[in-house]
């Protein structure tokens, strides 16, 4: 399994907040790609809607000079993830590509990881999922359906990473920057999001992460997130 070539990855993302228009295309794309069930109005009102990526709104200034800033928030794939040590059954752990992976079949549903995530990006399946007809016809065969009682969250589209690696191996070439695109990155009309390998010093995401505009969310907690937010320096 763990070949030298796979160990060399450290998947990361850069999101340009000056470009984000808050259009929510990433949210819709993520739902379609990752078989996220669509909640009914009642459970959404209860706080049970599942969105592996969400767009937070921040208001700056006083009326009438108000500016809205949008910040897409997804699992930050922390290198020091607070959710990992608290899981009693290793349902969430760090894999050798730096991903904070969730093994649905191991999860018994203590929900401790959800409590200990400072970004609140973990979602619980309160019931077995249902899709209103005909939405079940567009389910992605590459992504498992999560049963009731287990935790789930953004995977950085791990199925796309696997496919890209398979394709590269089939063509007998190493994986190159841009081979992997997560659903949210692919669908962003403003091209505000970039995905790639932080271990490749020349990758687009590496260069952006090293730029002076890069910040991390709640970085003072020392969680070492691998999502970088790009903002104009103040």
């Amino acid at each position: 399994m763990s070949q030298a070539i796979t160990q060399s990855h450290s998947w990361g993302m850069a999101i340009d907040l000056d470009r984000c228009t808050g259009c929510q295309a990433c949210v819709a794309a993520c739902h379609a790609e990752n078989n996220i069930s669509v909640s009914d109005p009642e459970s959404a009102a209860k706080g049970r809607a599942v969105h592996w990526i969400r767009v937070d709104r921040y208001y700056e200034g006083e009326f009438p000079d108000v500016r809205v800033k949008y910040r897409p928030v997804l699992c930050q794939q922390c290198d020091e993830a607070p959710c990992e040590p608290v899981c009693p059954v290793y349902a969430t752990y760090h894999n050798d590509e730096g991903l904070n992976v969730q093994v649905y079949n191991r999860c018994v549903g203590t929900r401790y990881c959800g409590n200990n995530c400072p970004y609140s990006v973990r979602f619980f399946n309160w019931f077995d999922p249902v899709w209103a007809e005909p939405l079940q016809l567009q389910q992605n065969p590459d992504v498992s359906i999560r049963e009731g009682g287990v935790m789930e969250k953004c995977t950085f589209c791990i199925q796309r990473i696997s496919r890209a690696k398979d394709d590269a191996r089939g063509e007998g070439r190493p994986l190159k920057d841009g081979d992997v695109q997560t659903a949210c990155v692919q669908s962003c009309p403003a091209e505000a999001m970039v995905f790639g390998d932080l271990n490749d010093p020349e990758s687009k995401v590496s260069l952006l992460a090293k730029s002076g505009r890069a910040t991390q969310l709640l970085e003072e907690l020392g969680t070492k997130p691998k999502v970088f937010y790009l903002e104009r320096a103040k």
Binding site: V89, V108, R111, G149
Partner: protein, 435 residues
């Protein structure tokens, strides 16, 4: 004191009398409690069948009533062990009529409290994955998780407190076996383990009890520290606190004492043990309760003062919600019943009586339940990113199960008091040789 003036055969008759037969009232109350407890099981079954979503918990409040109940009952369980172990170790003679009742509370409260980690699981049918055993998943449990510390600590505590209740029960059941017949004889004989009352046996029992008292004390403190660390190890605002271990231990003893006082008062009235559970027993326990109330206040004050002075915004959100925001009615009610009421009723000597001690204890039970609610819910409602703030309200399932546990506790206690003398008999037996 006074009890020793009653001749031993009289003591035996008095304490054995409640074991014989069951009054109409007893049967009725037991039936009623059983129905309520069974209703809780029905609610749990419904939750397992339909999904944990029938509870009111939701993102971001992933833990609700179940965890509050868990901490509450584990706290109550500290009645027996700590009180009876401390009093045994310090040779406090007045403890004799009190210890068995306390030790029984421990065992039953632990059995009930220990169920909540199961009840709150999303996939409870896989609960055994939390135990370390060679398995087809080739996975050892993650002992970095405080939940694994919980599993270890609580199972150790349950086994330990069972032994601690069992040991001093042996001479009593051996005596009972001499006069029992039918199923009772078989039960008592089985439990008595062939006890004959030889010097060697007495010596071994005494030594075992001393040893267990020491061990159980350490285990009890570790258990509630671990329960506290379930929260303190998380980086959530107002959970990540260094004093949570001792704070929780103090709160546990506090609520355990209150539970014990209430139970003793009920036992005293219903079993007519006025000659055994004397006012001075309640007086001593009430003083202990007052002491724990002050200790609890000190910890609560220290915890909130440091947060307030530190003025860290995320912590202050939770602090504000508790002290002056939407959780403030519960907060000030908690301070009132946990501190003001015991301070006045038990602190003023003229007011201190069996009745006021019981009133204060009922208040403390409510207050300590609220304390756990106030530790768990506000923090989870207000995670660091404000966009994810949420609210929590329990569903009928959570309320049913919570109510059912109180009924189950009372029912177990009723059954226990029919099978075994709730006040240890043999300890009143005059000994030729003094230890």
């Amino acid at each position: 004191m006074l009890v020793t003036q009653i001749p031993y055969h009289q003591v035996r008759d008095d304490l054995w009398r409640p074991l014989a037969g069951a009054s109409k009232r007893y049967t009725l109350i037991l039936a009623l409690l059983s129905v309520v407890a069974l209703w809780g099981l029905v609610a749990w079954g419904y939750q397992i069948h339909v999904g944990i979503g029938v509870a009111g918990i939701q993102r971001p409040v992933f833990w609700g009533f179940y965890l509050v109940d868990f901490v509450f009952w584990i706290g109550i369980s500290h009645a027996g062990t700590l009180i009876s172990a401390i009093l045994r170790l310090t040779d406090a003679n007045w403890r004799k009529p009190v210890t068995r009742a306390a030790e029984a509370i421990t065992v039953f409260a632990l059995m009930i409290g220990g169920m909540f980690p199961l009840i709150h699981l999303g996939r409870v049918w896989l609960f055994y994955w939390l135990f370390p055993y060679p398995n087809s998943r080739l996975l050892w449990p993650n002992y970095r998780s405080p939940l694994m510390w919980d599993v270890t600590a609580i199972s150790t505590y349950l086994i330990g407190s069972l032994i601690f209740l069992y040991l001093p029960l042996i001479p009593d059941v051996a005596q009972l076996a001499q006069e029992a017949s039918g199923w009772r004889l078989r039960l008592y004989k089985l439990i008595a383990l062939g006890w004959t009352g030889s010097d060697r046996e007495w010596h071994a029992l005494e030594r075992a009890m001393k040893l267990m008292a020491g061990i159980i004390l350490a285990v009890a403190i570790s258990v509630h520290s671990v329960v506290a660390w379930d929260f303190a190890m998380a980086i959530a605002p107002m959970w990540h606190s260094t004093i949570f271990g001792p704070y929780f231990v103090v709160g546990a003893i506090f609520s355990g004492l209150a539970g014990l006082i209430v139970a003793l008062n009920i036992i005293r009235k219903t079993m007519h043990l006025e000659n055994y559970l004397l006012p001075h027993h309640f007086d001593n326990l009430a003083k202990l309760l007052l002491l724990m109330s002050l200790l609890w206040l000190y910890f609560t004050f220290a915890e909130h003062l440091t947060v307030w002075y530190g003025n860290e915004p995320k912590e202050m959100s939770v602090f504000g919600a508790r002290v002056s925001g939407r959780f403030s009615p519960e907060f000030w009610l908690m301070v009132f019943v946990n501190f003001a009421v015991p301070f006045v009723l038990l602190g003023i000597r003229r007011l201190r009586s069996i009745t006021t001690a019981t009133i204060a204890s009922v208040g403390v039970l409510i207050g300590m339940w609220l304390e756990r609610y106030l530790i768990i819910i506000p923090t989870l409602s207000m995670p660091r990113l404000q966009s994810s703030w949420g609210r929590y309200a329990p569903s009928w399932v959570e309320i049913s199960i919570t109510v059912a546990t109180f009924a189950a506790m009372a029912a177990l206690y009723l059954v226990f008091s029919k099978l075994f003398p709730i006040v240890s008999v043999w300890e009143f037996e005059p000994h030729e040789e003094e230890h």
